[in-house]
Symmetry: C2
Subunit: 591 residues, 2 copies
């Protein structure tokens, strides 16, 4: 059975020593002193490692089942969900008015990492609910908010997002689900939606589906899409669930992973729906919370890598196989532990340096989202919008690769299901696909975000790197970090320049390099995070910290990232600079 230990110490380091949250002037941050966040993180660490982690394998092996139109979750999920609700963990960052705790998003993100790392499939039930509630909060009428939010914040009712149809995923303008006005202000929703996470289950009294559909006679394509609230049970005037609505489970999908989450085909047959937001502005309403949703999926890349890494480390310390080539380390045993071998360490260091760098990147992103929402900081909003596709695409690609590395440490034992390492890989795979496949993230980054507001936000990013390098360029203790960061950032600027110079005459020159640009950008971001963490660690060491070992480990791990991972930027740049010619040359029939 895989283990999971909550990384409270490292989360505290990022929150306080790197991001310095309690000193920020973002409203609500002044309450976040180290004792408070530690108490929250330790409590959620206990819940996730003791309650949710042991259910992770159960969820994978049992999966959900559909019987007579009703979906049942795996053994233990329902009871665990009750405990999560009772602990108030489902509405940490939601308004107090609706039963939430109004805590900063950065803290609920730190908590969210633990939930997701301990049990991704389980956490998706509350994750989707949070997303649907956030959309209602942003676009609902007062009545809609009062009807749905208190129940959804507590997860007494859960939520779903219904976008995909059999013939359209990315290109939602092709949507066929329709919404006929019923005459009483409501609509009759008919059509089929697929890949609906948490689409039906036995853990809530009601399920609030947010459904994209077209009102007949509206504009063509994506401009004619509206968003509707379609509850599984129509809510009575007294606020309780009443009559069953016209939505049914067509099938449960058989998936590569996240078996514990009920991914449904949902059939809508004149189901009663209520317009959320304005007519034909459905995409805008659905995507209001896009930065948060995508950051949340990026976090799944990190959390899967963290969980897999922790187990790989344990296995590498326990499993005796071969001898250290520089001299026996375990003379009393039949062999040395795997961790003595350089190539096992190469793998573990790849994982460790990714996980810690990604953690800082995610929490920095969450802090910018708080700044955007709580302080109306437009620069933070612009920068986090630019970085969102990087967070989502780069971290889920890399996170997946890290689960593969962790699985490899186990050798054959990683391939059989008994040890749970295969599950981390299979579960992590979905994060590269949902909430906008990673190729779409790259397109969003290069085709839209890069030039947004005249390129202001990418320039702000470069300035940020530049000023950090300038401020710390004379510090010998930082030399291992500043030079590689400068070089990587230069590669990123050269790539941006290439797009500007060549993308205008042929957009394919930019788009053919979009995926590499996303990864190049991701490495520079993690390089920046490592440089910032190194700065925090060297400062603490200079001040005579009581935990020098932690700081030294942080510096070594950072040096590894700078020396061994950042050189990837040169490869991505070369790929980008080769342009679109070889990419686009073949006729479709020649493939």
């Amino acid at each position: 059975m895989p283990i999971y230990k909550a990384p409270v110490k490292d989360l505290q380091f990022v929150l306080h020593d790197v991001l310095d949250v309690s000193q920020s002037d973002i409203p609500g941050y002044d309450d976040m002193d180290a004792d408070f966040t530690k108490a929250v993180l330790e409590e959620s660490g206990k819940l996730t490692s003791e309650l949710l982690a042991p259910l992770n394998v159960v969820g994978d092996q049992e999966g959900c089942r559909l019987e007579n139109g009703v979906v049942y979750t795996p053994t233990g999920f329902k009871a665990a969900f009750e405990q999560v609700k009772e602990g108030g963990w489902t509405g940490l960052d939601m308004p107090e008015q609706y039963g939430g705790q109004n805590l900063p998003y950065v803290l609920s993100t730190a908590v969210g990492e633990m939930f997701s790392a301990s049990n991704q499939a389980f956490t998706m039930y509350q994750g989707l609910t949070h997303g649907a509630a956030a959309a209602i909060l942003a676009h609902g009428t007062d009545q809609q908010k009062d009807t749905y939010l208190p129940k959804m914040v507590s997860c007494e009712w859960t939520g779903t997002m219904n976008l995909t149809e059999p013939h359209c995923g990315t290109d939602l303008g092709l949507m066929r689900t329709k919404a006929d006005p019923a005459g009483d202000g409501s609509y009759k929703i008919s059509g089929q939606k697929i890949f609906i996470s948490s689409g039906d289950h036995d853990m809530a009294d009601n399920i609030v589906h947010l459904v994209l559909a077209k009102i007949p006679g509206g504009p063509e394509g994506i401009k004619g899409v509206s968003l509707f609230i379609v509850p599984k049970f129509i809510v009575k005037d007294d606020g309780t669930p009443g009559e069953r609505n016209g939505v049914s489970v067509g099938a449960l999908e058989k998936k590569m992973g996240i078996h514990g989450n009920s991914t449904c085909v949902l059939n809508y047959d004149e189901a009663t729906g209520y317009l959320l937001g304005e007519e034909n502005k459905g995409m805008r309403a659905m995507f209001t919370m896009m930065n948060e949703a995508r950051l949340g999926v990026g976090m799944q890349g990190l959390s899967a890598a963290e969980a897999a890494y922790q187990n790989a480390v344990e296995y590498a310390k326990d499993r005796l196989q071969g001898r250290d080539v520089t001299g026996t380390k375990n003379p009393d045993g039949p062999a040395d532990p795997l961790i003595v071998h350089p190539d096992i360490r190469r793998s573990l260091m790849d994982q460790k340096s990714f996980v810690e760098g990604a953690r800082a990147f995610i929490l920095w992103g969450a802090q910018m989202i708080d700044a955007a929402h709580r302080s109306e900081d437009k620069d933070a909003d612009g920068l986090v919008s630019l970085l969102t596709p990087v967070i989502k695409g780069f971290l889920t690609d890399e996170g997946y690769d890290m689960t593969v590395l962790a699985q490899q440490v186990y050798g054959g034992h990683g391939y059989i299901e008994e040890h749970g390492m295969s599950q981390f890989t299979r579960d992590a795979r979905i994060a590269m696909i949902y909430e906008g496949a990673n190729g779409v993230q790259a397109l969003d980054l290069v085709g839209r975000k890069l030039a947004q507001d005249g390129g202001k936000h990418v320039m702000a990013f470069f300035d940020l790197v530049k000023s950090f390098c300038k401020d710390n360029g004379d510090d010998d203790a930082m030399a291992d970090f500043i030079e590689p960061l400068k070089a990587a950032s230069k590669d990123l600027q050269t790539a941006s320049m290439y797009f500007m110079q060549n993308g205008v005459k042929d957009p394919n020159h930019a788009l053919a390099g979009s995926y590499d640009f996303m990864h190049l950008f991701g490495h520079v971001c993690l390089g920046l995070m490592w440089a910032k963490m190194a700065k925090a660690a060297t400062s603490q060491l200079a001040a005579g910290t009581s935990d020098a070992a932690f700081c030294e480990t942080k510096l070594t791990t950072g040096r590894y990232y700078m020396a061994r991972r950042l050189p990837a930027t040169g490869m991505h740049l070369a790929r980008i600079q080769s342009g679109a010619d070889t990419v686009m040359a073949l006729h479709a029939d020649a493939f």
Copy 2:
């Protein structure tokens, strides 16, 4: 249901236009004219695409089942195996004396690609049999050969390889299975073996287990390991299966993939075994055929990538989603096919350029194995021994990554099991682990092969690249290939030099870079293959070929590899040159 089309034309191109097999003076090659190989490939292409490919999903979904100690294969496997046997496909390269066809290994490898691509789990039953038969052929007594080989060459009986035990996989010196002399020349084998592919099933009258075990009183560790033939049913004097031997199935492993193959825990309880080869020389006997076995697994990386790629191409042409940014390509449809989008093409070109390069690499390796065995060419033997860990490690890593890319083209439809794309990924994953995990391949390459015979073989490789570049350096048509190949080869030489200069004072400086070296070497090999294929294509174009489109496509695909994949060598070199310091610095407790 996934499709599979046999790549006969491309295999013919490699065999005849690149390797020029029928002009080779390797014994047996003179019969391999283009008409003959085409007939063989077309016949096996028909069998694999029509019979084995449709059973691939069946095998995955049903898996094998263990009932009352007996393993049953998935529906259709048994009947298909009969057809494969009847067609004579199981002993293509085996001696005619034992019922084989004595064809060159290079041709059986080309056929093997199709078998593996169409149904990896199924093909493993005959693959393991081939490996076991080859060991008996090399080390058996005449009586052993006469008893087992005719049945194994025809796959009337199948074979297995028993190395791994619960506590040891890579480090076989820790083995506990013992072989007590029975007094009559035979031995009593007792112990437990795990991860035994094709360990038991219902498709053969007997199963010939090759089992590594220790004879009590022998040398410690790996030097005291012997190899035994342990048939499931003890063979009677008349050559037919008799009494049940003391070997039983302890369990069927639940695995991430290759569900159609029966991976068993086998318990040996005083089973009768017969020494194969010499006492205490078991490892040597087991590994005699190592180059072939590892090349065969490397081929699985290629074949999984090929099968997944073919389906990704079909989907990319069929699925309508979004519009070409440079102008609508399918004005009569609601959207353009995925294949118009640059990032989808980037993915498909990565896959295509890998598959075709890997195919040439594998067949070149097989040709060298033929030269080593049939012509006793020691240089070919040395070079293919050097390249074997590259073929196995690099091609299975890359092949796996390509199945992930192919799956991604399907978006959410790639994550559900319905389309079969998840299976390609899950099946391909094992090839990175078995037959020596890829980290062990890297160790073999850098720790053993590189310096073998005074570094003679790696120098021969560099000479080969150098003379190719020299011979073609003045040809303008080859410019896109020669310069990148030179640069990549220089990176490889620099890395080798780094190991020589730094590995002596601290072997960790070499071993910490071993995995990157394996990938760096792999890219240079594929670069060389592409340069050779480009040469063949330009020659044909210059001579006025009737299939200019094929040659032009080959050149474009090669240019893609040189421009977009070869720059990875710089990254790997930088990682190698960063040495062991950051890799080895942390105490085990700091992870």
